[in-house]
């Protein structure tokens, strides 16, 4: 466990150090290259704004109206039937839409049921093995101005559902109930 913590703390500084060292070794004008590359970042951040505003407003309306909760309650019994605990269903559904809300839910589930309970382990695994697909889609495509997403959204959502089911099966097999 300590090793894992150590790795995550050292990783970024060491990576930065290696890039700088190698750049200097290869005689790259490091500081100038850094500034030049960095300038792009400002532009990208601004071009994401309209995409993100549009998406987040729509999601906010959907959540605040209570419609999201309603749909979750509607779907819960069906998923519970397969054996997946109803408590984690909202997490699985919101994970695709909002990263912050999902993190809040995971924290809440771990706090309520305990980190070493079945639900706690399952919530941890779901949180770790899935992504906020809608956010990634909005930011990545928004930053470079892709307006027609093609099959990307469908593929992303199906992949999320698959990851959710896989998380349940793996946790069930490894830890039991």
């Amino acid at each position: 466990m300590n090793f894992v913590q150590l790795v995550s703390i050292w990783l970024i500084p060491v990576t930065i150090g290696l890039i700088l060292l190698y750049g200097t070794f290869k005689k790259v004008p490091t500081y100038e290259a850094f500034v030049e590359g960095g300038k792009e970042g400002i532009e990208i951040a601004f071009s994401v704004i309209p995409y993100l505003v549009g998406m987040l407003v729509s999601i906010s309306i959907f959540r605040a109206s209570g419609a999201l909760d309603y749909f979750m309650n509607f779907l819960e019994p069906a998923i519970h039937l397969i054996g997946i605990p109803a408590e984690v269903v909202p997490l699985a559904m919101i994970r695709t839409i909002s990263g912050n809300a999902a993190l809040g839910m995971t924290t809440d589930l771990i706090a309520t049921y305990g980190p070493d309970s079945f639900i706690g382990r399952l919530a941890s695994t779901i949180q770790g093995s899935t992504e906020t697909t809608l956010y990634v889609l909005t930011v990545y495509f928004g930053a470079v101005g892709i307006k027609k997403m093609g099959d990307a959204l469908k593929v992303g959502i199906l992949a999320d559902i698959l990851s959710f089911i896989l998380s349940f099966l793996v946790v069930l097999l490894v830890f039991g109930r």
Binding site: M1, S58, G66, S124, K154, V155
Partner: protein, 197 residues
Amino acid sequence: MVNIIWVMMALIGIVFAAVNGTMDEVNAAIFKGAKEAVTISIGMISILVFWLGLMKIAEEAGLLKALGTLAKPIVKRLFPEVPPNHPAMGYIVSNMIANMFGLGNAATPMGIKAMEELKKLNGNKDVASRSMVTFLAINTSSITLIPATVISIRMTYGSAAPGEIIGTTLVASALGTIGAVFIDRYYYWKRSRRGGR
């Protein structure tokens, strides 16, 4: 499809609020959502500037190309439309690595750069190319080696073994990524059968 989902979420929400009497909350949420989006975007500037600056050094030093070459056997199969020595490969690989280690804020700038290169390859069109869909499929189900955030939450709530979910997360996300590639390939197959790209 985005258009439909986008409009549906807002419309259903508004109608639902009208029926359920939650119009007050919706009203507040509209402007909170807009503000949050701008806050996130502005907040991303620091991360984007820093990592894109650093990656520029890596690119000029030839590190990105080396990374792309190193991972060629796997990435070549995943992205048959990207030429092996194209800078897109280096960014795709570094994005995957950052994701594996749970470095979300380093992964985003590299992912955006990868998208930019993929767009150039697609003649700068505003339509998602085959490679972009594959890249997103892999990205959203990314293999996770160290789920750092989750581990720290588990520690906070007194887990006896905070790291015990590393294994389950790794297996679930690895299988999920393989599944995502198959889903991506299935839709590509469907598109090409229809005579599309």
